[in-house]
Amino acid sequence: MSDAALVSLVTALADDELVLGHRHSEWTGFAPHLEEDVAFSSIAQDEIGHAAAYYSLVANLTDDDPDRLALGREPAEYRNAIFCERPNREWAFTLVRHWLYDTADALRLEALEQSAHPELAALATKIRREERYHLIHADSWIKRVARGPVEGRTRLADATASAFPETIGLFEPFEDEEAAVKHGWLPVPSDELRRRFYDKVNPMLDELGLPTETHPHAAARAEFVASSSGDLISEGSGETSDAEGADDALGGRRGRHTPDLDALWTEMTTQYRSHPGARW
């Protein structure tokens, strides 16, 4: 089918938003303070709403049902980046993932505004305006914690060391990407988006004293401690092994996921599976 590349592109966008939206929703009732409970619930609702709009676009192309696409597929059929399916772990990890994801998503949406597919271009234009709120929320939190007391900074540095290398999964080419680029549906290839992303986040991470190591295990094994000047320095073994690499973070766009997605999927699809065809 000639639209296969478009379906593949929009499905990846939808799955990223749905899966991360679901992770954000796990803070409802559990966030460290009330305003953030409200914020993450609202951000989750936005992301899942964006996913719904993307699934509707796919459903129109393939004569399918958006609910089935969102909740009626097997885990191996999802095309989200592994980065999005990781558990929330703790507040620092949630924040840094929120910031990295929304920074990457803003670049992706900016590119998609010029998509040769008019409906996708219009949707990206609308979503990008809404996502501005997410990005500003994430930016202000990252700066606040990175410039705050040492415990928060240390946790943020640790979280960044494990989250940042996995962002590579967001820029893994999706199936038939070459065709999508050729048709102008995706005006900027994933490789170029990745370069733009690093150009954007590296200076900010440097400025905030956060790790920019893109190799997953080098920084993750190090321990961040405060020096006498108050700057965080990484101590301990930074040794790496080539056997373990950013490969762990790749595969999502081809449907190779981690057990983290299985756990999320089981919960996310419970209602859909136990009451087929249910209507609100």
Partner: protein, 167 residues
């Protein structure tokens, strides 16, 4: 266009002006700027709705209410309600009357009357307290109980209030 068609189209807009935003019943969807256009072909009316926020859960209710209201217009046999994101709904689409009604409802209208630049979205704005009219207010949270609302606090009358977000 014949006078009949013009009359029918005007009657459709009147009917739409009676359809409230389900989450803000004081304001009609016309005053919210959510109706992009009405198309008439014979007895068939096609109404295109622009969702305020992509994830707004009120959209199915709005579509149903639009279909019911327009079907009641004399001369209409068939109603098609479509949603579109082109152009994106922006908060400057809210009419003057819509802004006044939002304020009466207790919801501060979005700041600015022109289209909001993408680089301005999400920055703290000055919201006028819908209860006492003071602009000595503080943004407590860019998010709120629905995707379209932000939380503010009025330092003058000490009431919390909500603002319809500029977008």
């Amino acid at each position: 266009m014949s006078t009949d068609l013009l009359g029918t189209e005007a009657a459709i807009w009147d009917a739409l002006a009676g359809v409230p935003d389900p989450e803000i019943p004081a304001v009609s969807i016309v005053d919210m700027g959510m109706i992009r256009d009405v198309d008439l072909a014979g007895g068939r009316a096609t109404v295109t709705v622009l969702p305020t926020f992509t994830g707004c859960p009120a959209i199915p209710i709005i579509k149903r209410d639009v279909a019911t209201a327009v079907a009641a217009v004399s001369g209409i046999d068939d109603v098609v309600v479509e949603t579109s994101f082109s152009p994106p709904w922006t908060s400057d689409r809210i009419t003057e009357q819509g802004r006044a009604r939002l304020e009466e409802f207790g919801l501060a209208p979005p700041t600015g009357t022109g289209p909001v630049l993408i680089t301005e979205i999400g920055l703290p704005t000055v919201a006028r307290c819908p209860f006492c009219g003071s602009t000595d207010t503080a943004n407590e949270n860019p998010f709120g109980p629905t995707p379209c609302r932000a939380l503010y606090y009025c330092n003058a009358c000490r009431n919390p209030f909500e603002q319809f977000k500029p977008v």
